[in-house]
Symmetry: C2
Subunit: 200 residues, 2 copies
């Protein structure tokens, strides 16, 4: 069998299989697609991968991925430096940016506390957050994910920051817009019930 | 929004999105995974992509992807050069290799006739097959896919080769092993009925 696959092909299949959600079948389909596609496609991809780490770093203020340090958001004078949204991953900051209403700045933890995965507070940018959450900072919005690990991380951060005299908030929990009560899980429904708001 | 994503990141997201079956969401998840992963992962992938086209070519005999020309299968003295299996893609040859019983050689068409996609016989390695199917060649097994395009391609090849005095065969059609009559589509069932074999 191995005779039928040249080494450069198996090598790319193996490298692609190392990505999450890409099994050996998808990897080989992608590889043979690239073999048939114009050279430019694999070239672009190769160069983009080479530059990804070489040209990016973490912002020394918020630890988001950036080319320039500080990152464009931290360097933007119009952003409100007194409000910090704490997120697990860069993509979470992106999701908040997409709402178009958040005017504050971010703090990217690069993960969440997870005893199962052996990730403790020291593996995250929590110490950096504690150091940063002073001076002009008025509010820290803990925007970790609404799950066990995100909740544990939020609780830990809350404990670390509570003596600083800041406003500490967390994103609201409840029914997702467009959701259907019938299909919503009971934990979400419970949180929606507990967090119910007075109307009118 | 674009402020939150540095250019090297969007560039990789765009390059990954160009792959079949990978949408912008998967592409950005993969990109941020690579940002967090050890450098070696993106490096390996980058180099494998660079080498994929640079180090491979088509075998001048069977048109399979190969590093050396002729490919290891065509160069193997133990393979029976008198039997040629015609397949659409390199992955199809691989599937036949996996059965472990085919001792002949391959001919890779690099596609199938498809009027819808504007692919005609001249876009495939059919002329090369006609030229190759002579001399010692005794049998050509047409192993194109069991579908409309594969059938059209098989018929075209059959017409081109029928005056050569070769044995022309096609892979059997019928029920897939492990399948269930109840769930099998009626075309497959019809082919299984028409192709029924005498028992005992």
């Amino acid at each position: 069998m191995s005779k039928a696959i040249p080494e450069p092909v198996t090598r790319l299949i193996d490298a692609l299989s190392a990505l999450p959600g890409i099994g050996p079948k998808t990897a080989s389909r992608l590889t043979y697609f690239l073999l048939r596609a114009p050279d430019k496609l694999s070239q672009n991809l190769s160069e983009a991968l080479r530059d990804l780490k070489a040209r990016t770093r973490l912002c020394s203020v918020c630890y988001n991925i950036t080319v320039d340090d500080p990152c464009p958001i931290c360097a933007d004078e119009r952003r409100d430096k007194r409000t910090i949204a704490v997120v697990e991953e860069p993509l979470d900051a992106l999701a908040l940016e997409r709402t178009g209403v958040f005017q504050g700045v971010y703090h990217v933890l690069h993960g969440a506390i997870s005893p199962v995965q052996g990730i403790g507070p020291d593996d995250l940018k929590i110490r950096e957050l504690v150091q940063r959450a002073q001076g002009d900072v008025l509010e820290v919005i803990i925007a970790t994910n609404p799950g066990m690990e995100g909740d544990a991380t939020a609780m830990y951060i809350h404990r670390e920051l509570q003596r600083k005299g800041l406003k500490l908030t967390r994103l609201a929990r409840g029914l997702p817009t467009g959701g259907d009560l019938e299909y919503v899980d009971s934990v979400t429904l419970l949180r929606a019930l507990q967090g119910r708001n007075l109307m009118g």
